[in-house]
């Protein structure tokens, strides 16, 4: 395909295709506890490190409880939805409730350096790979 200009929309289409391609990946294992499936997670590799991203719209920072132990990450919380008093509901598609999900990732991470960010309903967990787990190049003597 002839490309005259770098097309930002095409970049989105490629990202969407790439995400679809990893739908069947078994990279992430279910953790030993917290069997819930919410929130849905996407995992990306960024250089040596990994980033877990989840969409949790409507949650406050304080509603989220994130724990890391060895290779297991647990994301728990409660989402509540309040309606105004005396309101007549026309449509109700948003869901509320509690969630508790634990996943094990197949790499060793540096649990002390895990960072969490929450903005605009998106939770991002930055997982630095443990120094001793990083691949080393072996020089052939």
């Amino acid at each position: 395909m002839a490309m005259l200009l770098p097309d930002p929309f095409d970049a989105l289409a490629s990202l969407q295709q790439a995400l679809d391609a990893f739908r069947a990946s078994d990279w992430l294992e279910a953790g030993p506890s917290g069997a819930g499936a919410y929130p849905p997670l996407n995992v990306f590799r960024k250089g040596d490190d990994y980033v877990i991203i989840a969409e949790v719209p409507g949650l406050k920072k304080s509603d989220l409880d994130i724990q890391v132990k060895d290779r297991t990450i647990r994301i728990a919380g409660t989402k509540s939805i309040d309606y105004a008093e005396n309101a007549g509901l026309h449509r109700r598609e948003r869901l509320a409730g509690r969630f508790d999900r634990a996943v094990s990732i197949p790499i060793e991470i540096d649990a002390d350096k895990v960072k969490a960010e929450y903005r605009d309903g998106i939770l991002a967990l930055y997982l630095p790979r443990a120094e001793h787990d990083k691949p080393r190049s072996i020089k052939i003597a």
Binding site: D7, F9, Q16, L19, F22, A37, A96, I122
Partner: protein, 132 residues
């Protein structure tokens, strides 16, 4: 009641628009609650990842059109290894009744939730008739 309930995963619904976009990217339909009180109609949409500057709310005739665009440049240099959901812009449109006061629609975006408040027009408000 809702507190004790396990939160289920909602698959994101892809938008099936009347007219196609010229670009190949996929859009999604935001989960929406709509409720009505005596004075206003409130529309609440979940648009995670959308920033304030990337929301557009338009009223053309009776049709309220909401679009939220995500900034996917944040995904640059990131290589997916595992995916459970897809990302994309959001779009949804509703046909309003004529009872809405068109000039006083307000919008608020908080933690990925867009709240639109559509005030009812004066003629549509319930009036109390005093009995003499």
């Amino acid at each position: 009641m809702a507190k004790s309930q396990e939160l289920a995963v909602q698959q994101k619904k892809e938008l099936a628009p009347k007219e196609e976009k010229t670009v190949p990217a996929r859009y999604f339909v935001p989960s929406t609650d709509i409720y009505e009180t005596e004075t206003a109609l409130t529309v609440i949409m979940e648009v995670p990842g959308v920033e304030k500057k990337d929301v557009s709310v338009q009223l053309e005739g009776d049709v309220l059109r909401v679009e939220g665009r995500i900034d996917f440049s944040k995904y640059e240099g990131m290589e997916p290894v595992y995916a459970e959901y897809n990302v994309g812009h959001y779009a949804r449109a509703f046909t309003l009744s004529s009872k809405i006061d068109r000039d006083s629609i307000s919008a608020e975006l908080d933690d990925g939730v867009l709240t639109l408040t559509l005030k009812k027009s004066k003629e549509a408000l319930p009036r109390r008739i005093a009995i003499r």
